[in-house]
Symmetry: C2
Subunit: 145 residues, 2 copies
DNA sequence: CATTCTGTTGAATAAACATTCACTTATGGA
DNA sequence: TCCATAAGTGAATGTTTATTCAACAGAATG
């Protein structure tokens, strides 16, 4: 009954048939012996990066982050922190600028602009909520590096 | 204040910034002088084929229907009707079989199977709701042919 | 062991979204 | 003109999804 097993089953199900609601997905899982609730599935949907389309839930080709920023971040990005509508990124000394430039080039809609010092980048988001989302996105970028 | 103008503005907005809710979208439209409600936007989102992603609303590359079925349908498909969990397609006499074969090859998840006669195809959907959805999808296919 | 921390989950609830119904407006015949 | 029909809309309401909060389990630490 592990979470990752459930995730796998969810993917298998939505690949094989149209599932239009999370409750429906819960019923599908039940038929293979996995008892869950809509609450859990709401989280699973987010974690798996699924989106709801008129044809049912689908995996979305995760708009890939360009390699430049990804590589630089993997190498030099040390800390990520949200502060109101800002995200503060800490880098290795002297590398803030190059990382910020790479990030600018990504042209993420969530990023209004960046300011780079020596080892700190201030990423300006339009609002607090977006900043929090950005934060997660940065963390995700570093997973498993 | 036409609907199609609003649709255009909606696309422009979601291409340029992250919009996470329909209420937020309504506020964006208001700033350019378009007063709408969430109700209307719910319909617009569906009509424009947008999906909600963690990064905001997005146009989804409409999983293209293969050309074979599309072309055959444009040429020979005459009527579309839902009946319980079935969709009954009427074609030009003698063409039901070829259209059905092309449809089978599409491997739509909503289609359990098809049975073709001379000028009639029975499309079997898993349930009534899916049949209704299929119906719309067929109709959409024929728009503007 | 106790304790703290982290991750997972469900119940209750809030938020977001979709649908129904009634109304308006425009259009196109009789 | 008058009626019928169709398209578009919003208010109210129903459905679906997300979040909050509390509980619990297991791992790490004193």
């Amino acid at each position: 009954m592990s979470k990752s097993y459930r995730h796998g089953q969810i993917l298998r199900i939505i690949r094989s048939k149209s599932v239009h609601t999370q409750d429906e997905l819960a019923r599908c899982l039940k038929t293979i012996g996995l008892a869950t609730t809509q609450v859990t599935l709401s989280r699973d949907v987010r974690e798996l990066g699924l989106v709801k389309t008129p044809e049912g839930y689908r995996e979305i080709t995760h708009e890939e982050t360009g390699p430049a920023f990804r590589l630089l971040a993997a190498e030099f990005l040390h800390d990520i922190r949200a502060a109101s509508n800002l995200v503060v990124l800490k880098t290795a000394p002297g590398h803030a600028n190059s990382v910020a430039v790479a990030l600018d080039n990504e042209e993420w809609k969530e990023v209004v602009g960046t300011i780079a010092g020596d080892d700190t980048i201030l990423v300006i988001a339009p609002d607090e909520k977006t900043a929090a989302h950005l934060c997660k996105r940065f963390h995700k970028l570093l997973e498993g590096r």
